[in-house]
């Protein structure tokens, strides 16, 4: 089992002939992911690391039966790539690209609402189900299979937590980076629901940061509908208001989105909140 990606995943890489797309295709293949197709308009017929390249996602899906897409397309064209994937019948779209204009994402999400497609990201490290499939840019070797579901708005911070878990022998069912942008396709609540229903996940780790109210909504959801233990961490207690902290979505605006508020909301929902990334692993260990 696990969630979102698995051995069954048939992946198409949008932007496969670019530097980043090509590089990570190699790493995903090395990890054992079934990369069945790539897409770069105008490069149909070429091959990248043994993967056939198509001009359109439509053609890639028809020819290879791809069901999942990962997007390494430059920001100005990425929202178009997301909609192209959904329109071609892709069920899960993972968008790595950072810096997509907000209104492009607003429009793309409006379109996705009308289709059955799920978007992870953008501006995210992707999704990994250790030992089965890596659909993203995270270092595969720090992961190991196990019972801990991880969901995070961050990249390297997630790796830090995952490494701490693995170092303690606590493997992961799936680790999901939902992305650091203000507009993202999949929220904490969406992933929590999947982990709650996933038989191989026993504990859930939620890694939040300043900005927005996604953690608050997650807290409410957990209190009401999650039976599994959840351990949280929220980055940005020392972040000042009014400044974007690296991620486009990591900003305290109008007094909303502080780490303190999020921690209070999580703790009020009965969730233990770690003080630093390594402590997450300590608290998880106590649950198992």
């Amino acid at each position: 089992m696990s969630i979102l990606v698995s051995k069954e995943t048939r992946l198409v890489v949008q932007g496969i002939t670019g530097t980043e797309g090509s590089f990570h295709t190699r790493l995903m293949l090395d990890y054992g992911t079934h990369v069945v197709a790539g897409v770069t308009p105008g490069k149909g017929g070429e091959w990248v690391h043994g993967v056939p390249v198509f001009d359109t996602v439509r053609e890639a899906v028809q020819t290879t039966g791809a069901d999942t897409s990962i997007i390494y397309v430059p920001a100005p064209f990425a929202a178009d790539a997301i909609v192209e994937a959904a329109d071609a019948g892709i069920g899960l779209i993972v968008c790595i690209t950072e810096g997509i204009p907000i209104l492009d994402m607003v429009r793309a999400c409006q379109f996705l609402e009308d289709t059955g497609a799920r978007l992870i990201g953008p501006n995210c490290p992707g999704v990994i189900t250790p030992g089965q499939a890596k659909v993203g840019i995270m270092p595969g070797h720090i992961h190991m299979p196990g019972p801990v579901g991880v969901v995070s708005r961050s990249g390297t911070l997630t790796y830090e937590v995952v490494k701490a878990l693995t170092d303690r022998g606590l493997g992961q069912s799936t680790a999901v980076g939902i992305g650091g942008d203000p507009i993202i396709g999949t929220s904490f609540v969406d992933v929590l629901r999947l982990f709650e229903d996933d038989p191989v996940t026993d504990v859930i780790v939620l890694i939040g940061e300043i900005g927005g109210t996604d953690e608050e909504r997650a807290a409410q959801f957990i209190a009401g509908e999650v039976s599994k233990p959840v351990i949280a961490f929220v980055a940005g207690r020392t972040a000042p208001p009014g400044h974007r902290m690296g991620h486009a979505g990591a900003i305290i605006e109008g007094g909303e989105g502080t780490a303190q508020e999020k921690i209070v909301a999580l703790e009020a929902a009965g969730i233990r909140v770690a003080r630093h990334p390594v402590e997450v692993a300590d608290l998880v260990a106590e649950c198992l």
Binding site: P101, I102, S154, E209, G246
Partner: protein
């Protein structure tokens, strides 16, 4: 990218939104001339990209050209929240009957733009949201359909407007929506939207924040950036494509990844230290970017110790080490003590490169943070 009031109003005017007549002055005599041309009482308003101008004395009313010159003399050069005022907007002072609020923001939860209106304007909307939430009306806008006339009318009636005020209100609402969407704004705000005693509506103050990620398709807007309001460090960070925020502590931090950078700062704080900055070098940074990042930290006189935390995935530890060495070797000032924690791709090679330099290396994040705090305290 935040726009000045006068820049925002120029965009408003282009979309037919009613703004007071006026112009920008950089000297008292220019202010005098503008006021003379306007020939009416004027407002002289400091143009700085921070809130609270009014309370700081940055907005003055002048009855004639001479008073306007004097007002400009007082305001130009004054410091508001650390920013020096270099420009004033001189514009016709509007008579105020009622002050309303109208703004468009991105609603992250619903993934849509939201128009927010209130019959109570002139105060900060967040303040109002806390004290009088019932005075605020909020409308989610379908980004594909846009703001429709009937929706704008519904808002007008929500606010208790009637008669001749409905049409100007809906026209302004539709105009503000066009401003927002055509320019890829993340905030477009009129506050206050004034109704004069004669029943005219005027945008007396305005604010636009543009989406930095969309500036590539608005080259004429990106030229509006006010580089005078950037510090030297901000300028360097922007040019090197680094995320940098100055804080008031003494431990310089450099991390790859925004979340990890914040977590690192929090850890410093947890151990009793105070971070001097947020600095994210992003994913896959090469040596020259790392060097640029270290230069920014080294140029900060408040920094008494440096903590570098790299969790290599795409980022290669040897590149980081090379970048650090470059910046250390070229600097002429003494380098504060530095703790470097490197894990991930090529971490051994990175540590070996740094062994030559006078740098403390670590593999544990907790250990590295504790050492940095101790070093800063001992300086």
């Amino acid at each position: 990218m935040k726009l000045h009031e006068y820049q925002s109003k120029r965009i408003f005017a282009r979309y037919g939104l009613p703004v007071p007549q006026g112009n920008i002055a950089t000297t008292p005599s220019e202010a005098r001339q503008i006021a003379h041309l306007l020939g009416s009482p004027v407002a002289v308003k400091a143009q700085v990209l921070v809130g609270g101008r009014g309370k700081a004395g940055g907005i003055l009313i002048a009855r004639d050209a001479a008073e306007a010159e004097e007002a400009a003399r007082q305001i130009i050069g004054m410091s508001i929240k650390g920013l020096t005022v270099r420009k004033v907007l001189v514009e016709c002072a509007a008579e105020i009957g009622q002050e309303m609020y109208m703004g468009i923001v991105i609603d992250r939860t619903h993934r849509k733009p939201a128009m927010i209106v209130s019959a109570q304007g002139g105060v900060e909307i967040e303040e109002l949201a806390r004290t009088r939430p019932d005075a605020i009306f909020r409308l989610l806008i379908d980004p594909l359909r846009g703001l429709m006339d009937y929706q704008a009318r519904n808002l007008a009636f929500d606010l208790g407007l009637h008669g001749n005020l409905i049409r100007p209100f809906t026209t302004i609402a539709r105009g503000l929506w066009r401003v927002f969407v055509d320019n890829d704004a993340t905030l477009a705000e009129i506050n206050p939207l004034v109704i004069t005693p004669e029943g005219q509506m005027i945008a007396v103050d305005g604010k636009i924040t543009l989406d930095d990620n969309a500036l590539f398709r608005h080259l004429e807007l990106s030229e509006m950036r006010d580089v005078q309001e950037e510090t030297e460090a901000q300028r360097q960070a922007r040019q090197a494509d680094l995320s940098y925020v100055k804080l008031d502590g003494d431990i310089g931090c450099m991390v790859n990844g925004a979340g990890l950078a914040m977590a690192t700062m929090d850890l410093v704080d947890l151990y009793g230290g105070r971070p001097a900055n947020f600095l994210d070098i992003g994913g896959g940074a090469r040596a020259n970017k790392v060097a640029a990042a270290l230069r920014i930290i080294l140029s900060d006189p408040d920094v008494r110790a440096i903590l570098i935390n790299i969790f290599g995935g795409i980022t290669r530890c040897d590149e980081v080490a090379r970048g650090l060495l470059t910046a250390i070797q070229e600097t002429s000032t003494p380098v504060p003590p530095m703790v470097v924690r490197l894990v991930g791709a090529n971490e051994e090679e990175g540590r070996q490169l740094l062994a030559a330099a006078d740098v403390i290396t670590a593999t544990s994040l907790l250990e590295a943070a504790q050492k940095a705090v101790a070093l800063a305290a001992s300086q």
